[in-house]
């Protein structure tokens, strides 16, 4: 009986997972086929490995450039989100001051605000400041939108750090700044990692902000890069799939290595958001 259960479990799971996983598998092998082969039979496996599509994408300067832009934007935004949100969370967690409740709730309110309700004023503001079509504009927006959830998660993590630790440090003559930097921050590495991963995935994959604030080809992020590549080269299926492949795979490999942390990070973010 147990055996039958196990076998039927494997059959059902294998079938469902193959259906779910097939588009990914197709994305992995199809760019190795020529356009002609894909037209003839999109399902078939490549009979030989054709790398020309990959070469074509890599030689399209702007596409690789968009990769670098995404790296720059994500790194700077996540670093600053971690710094700013941990500072604010530290104050919210460890200090009592007038208006604290109101300020904290205002920050939490940000969790509910859809991106669409800030796009127009920001577009006009950035145009006035000459920030339109600069990486800075998106970085500013990503930081602001990353703050509420990050402050929220970090504050509740900091609340769990025992007070005695800080009190002892205070007796030893540590300044509050030093307590934050050499006690709270190092002790919160797991929470900071969770928050960092969540924000990195969201920022790396963002589409709408990049679409609106970045316009010139050399400022494109990876999402815009794929989008414009597929719009221009759409008929060149093999190359478009190669571009998708190049854009997706580094991320999937990182995901396979750190999946536990990534999944828990994404859950923490989405649940509270």
């Amino acid at each position: 009986m147990k055996r039958i259960h196990a076998i039927s479990w494997y059959i059902i799971t294998m079938i469902t997972t193959s259906i779910i996983g097939y588009p990914l598998l197709w994305l992995i092998y199809s760019p190795f086929k020529t356009n002609k082969d894909i037209f003839k039979n999109p399902w078939s496996l490549p009979t030989y490995l054709n790398f020309s599509s990959f070469k074509e994408v890599l030689s399209t300067g702007n596409f690789m450039n968009s990769y670098i832009n995404s790296l720059i934007i994500t790194t700077i935004s996540v670093t600053l989100i971690l710094l700013f949100s941990s500072m604010a969370a530290y104050v919210f967690s460890k200090y009592e001051f007038r208006g604290k409740e109101i300020i904290f709730i205002t920050f939490l309110g940000g969790l509910m605000i859809p991106q669409q309700s800030v796009l127009l004023p920001l577009y006009i503001l950035f145009r006035k400041l000459g920030l339109l079509d600069t990486l800075t504009s998106t970085i500013l927006v990503y930081i602001a939108f990353g703050l509420p959830i990050s402050i929220f998660i970090l504050k509740y993590f900091f609340d769990e750090i025992p007070r005695e630790l800080e009190d002892a440090a205070k007796v030893d003559g540590c300044s509050p700044l030093k307590i934050y930097w050499s006690i709270i921050v190092p002790m919160s590495t797991p929470a900071l990692l969770t928050v960092g991963i969540y924000n990195a995935v969201v920022i790396w994959n963002d589409f709408i902000f990049a679409l609106i604030f970045l316009s010139s080809p050399e400022k494109r992020t990876i999402s815009l890069g794929i989008w414009s590549f597929s719009n221009i080269q759409g008929i060149n299926i093999s190359a478009t799939l190669a571009a998708l492949n190049i854009a997706t795979f580094p991320l999937l490999i990182i995901y396979f290595i750190f999946q536990r942390k990534i999944i828990s990070g994404m859950m923490a973010g989405a649940l509270k958001g």
């Binding site: 799971t13 469902t16 700013f84 940000g110 999402s223 994404m266």
Partner: protein, 289 residues
């Protein structure tokens, strides 16, 4: 509080506070303000009160967008959540391979929406697409169509892609909930002779009922402001057949540069999403009582 500490509080809140006010809070009110103007591109602005809203509510395309948004909400709830739940029940069995199956199911969540959208454009393509090719193999040629180019199928095709992209999120949510159920409950049920189906029906589902509700509410809020895959795959078309509030707002505000009118769509979207979000928060807070 010491002066030194006061300074620290201010200094530590300043960067977050300034950015948050300048980039989120202030623009929300500005959008509201913009929506009261007739404002097209570079032409001079003219105060018109609530005229934009009156126009908006008699704009048939806006109603199509709201209707489509409701389809997306319902479509997400009746597909992504049951599939996520089904896979979660399967993948909480500790057998060899469970981990790999979970990894595969969650991986669409890691891909960017643009990548997912472009990939699925190839699946739905009328000439060489995987789906039509499959129908041909199965002898169902009559059902083959230009999935994204046909106004009757465009919205549902994108909703189909949304299932693939988002169900893994709900799966993980349910897996976490199911793994929190004490195993003694199942052991006791087994001794009493309950089979697997009964265990799911009378233990698992009642216990994770709250998680299912949370999932439904998250799906509602997410679907109302949805933009990504629709924009990549259909741009809201053809003939507005897959138009959503968010895509319509983008077109009015950034393609046609009708800033006032676009702002009024953003305000309505904000209101609808906020009401839904308050509902979610109320619900989540009730859980903690």
């Amino acid at each position: 509080m010491l002066l030194k500490e006061k300074r620290l509080v201010v200094f530590f809140l300043l960067p977050s506070g300034m950015l948050y006010l300048a980039i989120i809070i202030f623009p929300v009110f500005q959008t509201l303000y913009f929506s009261l103007f007739k404002w097209k591109g570079a032409l001079p602005q003219q105060y018109i009160g609530i005229l934009n809203y009156i126009k908006l509510f008699s704009d048939p395309i806006f109603w199509v967008a709201i209707k489509n948004n409701i389809y997306v909400v319902i479509g997400s709830i009746i597909t992504q959540i049951p599939l996520g739940l089904f896979m979660a029940i399967l993948l909480t069995r500790q057998r060899r391979g469970t981990g790999i199956f979970r990894t595969i199911c969650f991986s669409p969540m890691i891909m960017s929406e643009v990548a997912v959208g472009v990939l699925w454009c190839f699946i739905y393509n009328p000439i060489y697409g995987l789906l039509n090719e499959l129908l041909k193999i199965l002898g169902l040629n009559n059902f083959a169509t230009a999935w994204l180019g046909n106004p009757n199928t465009s919205l549902f095709s994108v909703i189909g892609t949304m299932i693939w992209r988002f169900f893994g999120f709900y799966m993980i949510l349910f897996i976490a909930a199911i793994e929190g159920i004490p195993s003694q409950l199942y052991e006791a049920a087994e001794i009493d002779g309950a089979n697997a189906r009964q265990q799911i029906l009378y233990i698992t589902l009642p216990i994770i009922k709250r998680t299912i509700k949370v999932a439904i509410l998250l799906a509602i809020v997410g679907s109302l402001k949805y933009f990504g895959l629709i924009w990549v795959m259909t741009l809201g078309g053809p003939y507005h057949s897959s138009e959503l509030m968010a895509t319509y707002m983008y077109k009015k505000a950034f393609t046609e540069m009708r800033i006032g009118y676009g702002a009024s769509i953003a305000v309505i979207l904000f209101l609808i999403a906020s009401i839904a979000a308050i509902f979610v928060l109320k619900f989540l807070l009730r859980k903690n009582r």
